[in-house]
């Protein structure tokens, strides 16, 4: 599978490494060259030598998305640090480039919920944290 990941912070870069390790073709787009170093950190081989792709660019720029290979992407992951950026580029991937597997990180549970109902596959780390706190506090809350 060709996986395009936009936004390689802690989450995006870790998912990128996982996908590459599972022998998928992985391309990463990030506006910060530092994210490239994050992909290399702690690895025996550089990101490129391991078969990964990295493009510096802004997610909303079509040229950058095309350079990163969006036209042949089968999985699109939006994991920048901006909820709204993620929600918009995910819809661009879906509606303009016809990618079926689109996964979006949305910190805000409310936005994650509504866009989830609209057919986007949203993941809300905040919602997960809330649920884990709830579970951890179970004895006290009961």
């Amino acid at each position: 599978m060709f996986v395009l990941i936009v936004g390689a912070g802690r989450v995006g870069s870790a998912v990128a490494k996982l996908a590459l390790a599972s022998r998928h073709e992985v391309s990463v787009l990030d506006e910060d060259p530092l994210s490239h170093e994050r992909l290399n950190a702690g690895q025996a081989q550089s990101w490129e030598d391991s078969g990964g792709q990295f493009t510096v660019g802004t997610a909303l720029e079509l040229d950058a998305l095309v350079a990163a290979g969006i036209e042949r992407a089968e999985v699109f992951i939006a994991s920048t640090d901006g909820d709204n950026t993620n929600l918009i580029i995910a819809q661009i991937a879906q509606k303009r480039f016809g990618i079926e597997r689109v996964i979006v990180r949305v910190m805000d549970p409310a936005r994650a919920g509504w866009y989830g109902e609209q057919g986007l596959h949203t993941i809300s780390p905040t919602q997960h944290a809330i649920e884990m706190f709830e579970r951890a506090l179970e004895p006290e809350l009961a």
Partner: protein, 223 residues
């Protein structure tokens, strides 16, 4: 009319002021605390502090009863998101979005966020109006309907001069809707004769401009 304006910068602030002076009910939403405090001195209860891309902030502002939502922040993703949510979640009848980077215009269109207004485009249109190419002025583009309305000044050597409207073989998909002559306008009939110096208004399918220009202001002629 109840209007929610998102973004209290120069555009949002002046828009709020204008609408309030025309007796509309306005809520301005600003996400920066210092900017909000400055706005509060002028707008008092008509300005609220918060990030309008958070649903509860929009709900607190009463989005359910808003007649119009205008998103004019400096961030295109925020403007798109606010308008999309206003339209699709809260079923607000009318939205207007500001486009900061004209290259994002396609994204607004893709998500059905119309009208999307870009200052760059407006200024370009004004320049076109002031410095018309071949004397052609774009008056209006009806993007949804895929139609345009243009204005042309008829040159002395143009093929259309001296011809009746019915004799001018305009391309299919175009129609003369009005003629301005000596300061007054009228709707032409089939036997109206086009004269040099007339200003003609046409409605047309996009892409026919060059063909139309050939009839009224052929290449190279100066007005």
């Amino acid at each position: 009319m109840y209007v929610i304006i998102v973004g209290g910068g120069k555009v949002g602030r002046n828009l709020a002021r204008e609408l309030i002076s025309k007796d509309h009910e306005v809520t301005l939403i600003e996400s920066s605390r210092p900017a909000y405090l400055a706005l509060e001195e002028e707008f008092e209860h008509a300005v609220q502090y918060g990030d309008a891309t958070e649903l509860w902030v929009l709900e607190r502002a009463g989005i359910q009863r808003a007649d119009l939502v205008v998103a004019v922040t400096g961030d295109d993703e925020d403007n798109m998101l606010v308008c999309q949510v206003a339209k699709e979640k809260y079923l607000c009848d009318r939205i207007i979005a500001r486009v900061n980077n004209p290259r994002n215009h396609d994204h607004f269109r893709l998500l059905g966020i119309q009208p999307a207004v870009s200052a760059t485009d407006l200024i370009l249109r004004l320049i076109e109006h002031e410095v018309p190419r071949y004397g052609l002025v774009h008056l209006l583009a009806l993007e949804e309907e895929r139609l345009e309305i243009i204005e042309l000044e008829v040159k002395a050597e143009a093929p259309a001069v001296g011809e009746t409207v019915s004799n001018i073989a305009l391309p299919e998909g175009s129609l003369i809707i009005s003629v301005l002559r000596e300061g007054s306008g009228f709707v032409p009939k089939a036997d109206t004769v086009i004269e040099a110096g007339d200003e003609v208004l046409l409605v047309l399918d996009p892409g026919l401009e060059d063909a139309i220009t050939e009839f009224f202001a052929p290449n190279g002629s100066e007005g």
